[in-house]
Amino acid sequence: MEKIHIICVDDEREVLESVAQDLELLSEVFTVELCESAAECLELMDDIDAEDDHVAVVISDQVMPDKSGVELLTEIAEDGRFKHTKKLLLTGLATQADTIRAINHAQLDNYLEKVWQPEILQLLTKQLLTRYIVEKGIDYQPYVSHLDAPTLFKLLQ
């Protein structure tokens, strides 16, 4: 079974932990990693890539001290190694300009407002994981119980 990572980035520890809690069900088969800054996230992704493992989903906050969420996700989007990595922006404080940049440059897959409903975050993450796995040509069978079935059916046709 391939090692597939979900990375959550937020400068506030409590937010990170609540995201991790919402994704607990997924951590049975996927690895959920928590980063407190954009720099930490990029470094971790470097390491994961060097191990030939997968970064399937990055869930990032927008407002962070040195590098914003959109900047981080744009950097990931432009990196050829992570062209299939799915990106979710989680924020309460994004201006319209941020939002436009997020969609045009960071090629955002999903946008979720703080405070979110745990089920919604879980569902969106599952959908993104399913898309990543099918697009990357990873055998979906071992993960099937943790994927989003309707998305899977659509992609397998």
Binding site: Q141, V144, A149, P150, F153
Partner: protein
């Protein structure tokens, strides 16, 4: 801890032990070295397909490469040292040829048809039109769904058909009430129909292709002939499955509305696809009238779709080469058993002739059904059919009951009827992923349909035999 590695250790250890034993240790008179190596390869294949330490198609490739290295006329130098008991080396061209055997070409043609149909949305559009007459009563909508799934899976892969039908179905099932058993019935109806539907044509499912390898010369069955008994079998089984599902899991919902969007494409390319589809099937059904057999016909759509850029270079990469290789490995295994002389030798050494022929048919098909529930249908067919074919050819007491053909068909049908667990087939896994079905419910339906399916198979063979089909 140790048991975790057993699935890697056993497939290496046991074949090695077999290779090191003296040729006299097997209780088969005049066993040659080549035959002994074939036994080792066969055992390796069986262990790898059952325990799955590597992907099942990889096992097939390993079989072919090991045969080339160990028993072919161009193998490793020390495998060809002349001696009295060396035996018959197999031509390397024959072994490599299994990658492009006519049966593989037949499947390739089927893949092209299915890909083009999906690409030009012939499948969803047909589903939309064909579902209309079934109205809105859940019971009849389910019947319609099952019939359409079965028809599609006769020509497309069972997995792709299931994915398509389930994606039509899931938005509707989401509207059902929490405790409505109808959800279970609907979610199960699709994989059940896909598994059963595959039996209908030679290209419906890979085990059928493997069977064709052993139905040659006097026993040859044409595309049309296969459908002549396959389709009625599918119809009977579908009806039984429908009654069973609607009795076991009645829907409380009064009305159900399947909403499939889209229109038939009317571009020149789409029309080419429709025409080629119809032409190919007609040519298949006409049998020998035009002088072409089904293998030759299968390559016509390949040429047409490539020519008009309907299947592009990129589409070509999406062909399920793993399925083709999986079948190739099975064919190569059969070739090795046959050409080395092992099949004939071993059958003579084991006193099967003493057993009652009907007992043999029942035992072989039940073993196949059991194996198919726990492992890949194609791998099961790959392993059992060469043995069964060798056995059938040598048993004269089988002749009054339909001979070799009866035995091969019973085992082939059994391979497709293994569907009681989520791991039994990819369609089952997908239905399970939908979250509407519990393993226990799937097992109940699967076991009942497996047993009834075998009884219907025996009845069908008896009728075919009465009609003189297998003479």
């Amino acid at each position: 801890m140790f048991t975790r590695y057993l699935k890697y250790i056993l497939p290496i250890l046991i074949p090695c032990i077999i290779l090191l034993l003296p040729t006299t240790a097997f209780g088969i008179d005049g066993l040659t070295q080549i035959e002994q190596r074939v036994i080792a390869i066969f055992v390796l294949a069986a262990l790898c397909w059952v325990l799955e330490p590597i992907p099942i198609y990889a096992t097939s490739v390993v079989i072919i490469v090991l045969e080339l290295l160990l028993v072919s006329d161009k193998g490793l130098w020390f495998t060809k040292v002349p001696s009295d008991d060396l035996g018959q080396l197999i031509s390397h061209k024959t072994i490599m040829g299994t990658f492009a055997s006519p049966i593989i070409m037949l499947f390739l043609g089927g893949f092209f048809l299915a890909m083009a149909a999906t690409k030009y949305r012939l499948d969803t559009n047909l589903a939309r039109v064909l579902l209309k007459p079934f109205g809105k009563d859940p019971k009849y909508v389910m019947l319609g769904l099952m019939m359409i799934t079965a028809i599609f899976s006769m020509f497309m892969s069972n997995t792709a058909t299931t994915a398509m039908m389930l994606s039509i179905l899931t938005p509707v099932l989401a509207l059902f009430k929490m405790e409505d058993m109808g959800k279970v019935a609907f979610a199960l109806s699709v994989p059940v129909a896909a598994n059963i539907g595959g039996i209908g044509t030679p290209i419906g499912t890979p085990p059928n292709a493997v069977a064709l390898k052993y139905l040659v010369d006097d026993n040859a069955i044409s595309f049309g002939q296969w459908m002549a008994f396959g389709v009625p079998f599918v119809v009977v089984m579908l009806f039984i499955a429908w009654v069973l599902l609607s009795r076991l899991f009645p829907a409380s919902e009064k009305e159900i509305n399947l909403n499939i969007k889209g229109k038939f494409l009317k571009t020149p390319k789409a029309i080419t696809v429709y025409a080629t589809f119809i032409l190919t099937i007609l040519l298949w059904l006409m049998g020998g009238l035009h002088g072409m057999n089904s293998y030759v016909v299968a390559l016509i759509p390949v040429a047409i779709f490539s020519m008009f850029n309907i299947i592009t270079k990129e589409d070509l990469k999406k062909i399920s080469w793993d399925v083709l290789w999986l079948v190739s490995g099975g064919i190569a295994l059969g070739v090795a058993l046959d050409k080395s002389g092992l099949a004939a030798n071993a059958v003579n050494a084991i006193p099967f002739a003493a057993a009652h022929p009907l007992l043999l048919i029942v035992a072989a098909s039940l073993l196949c059904l059991l194996m198919a529930n726990f492992m890949s249908h194609t791998a099961t067919a790959n392993l059992l059919l060469p043995l069964v074919a060798a056995l059938g050819a040598s048993m004269h007491s089988l002749l009054p009951y339909g001979g070799e053909v009866a035995l091969i068909l019973a085992v082939t049908f059994a391979a497709s009827l293994g569907m009681s667990l989520p791991i039994s087939t990819p369609p089952n896994a997908l239905a399970f992923a939908s979250g509407h079905v519990k393993t226990k419910q799937m097992a109940k339906v699967g076991v009942i349909l497996g047993v009834i399916g075998m009884l219907v198979t025996y009845a069908m063979i008896a009728i075919l035999n009465q009609m003189g089909f297998m003479a």
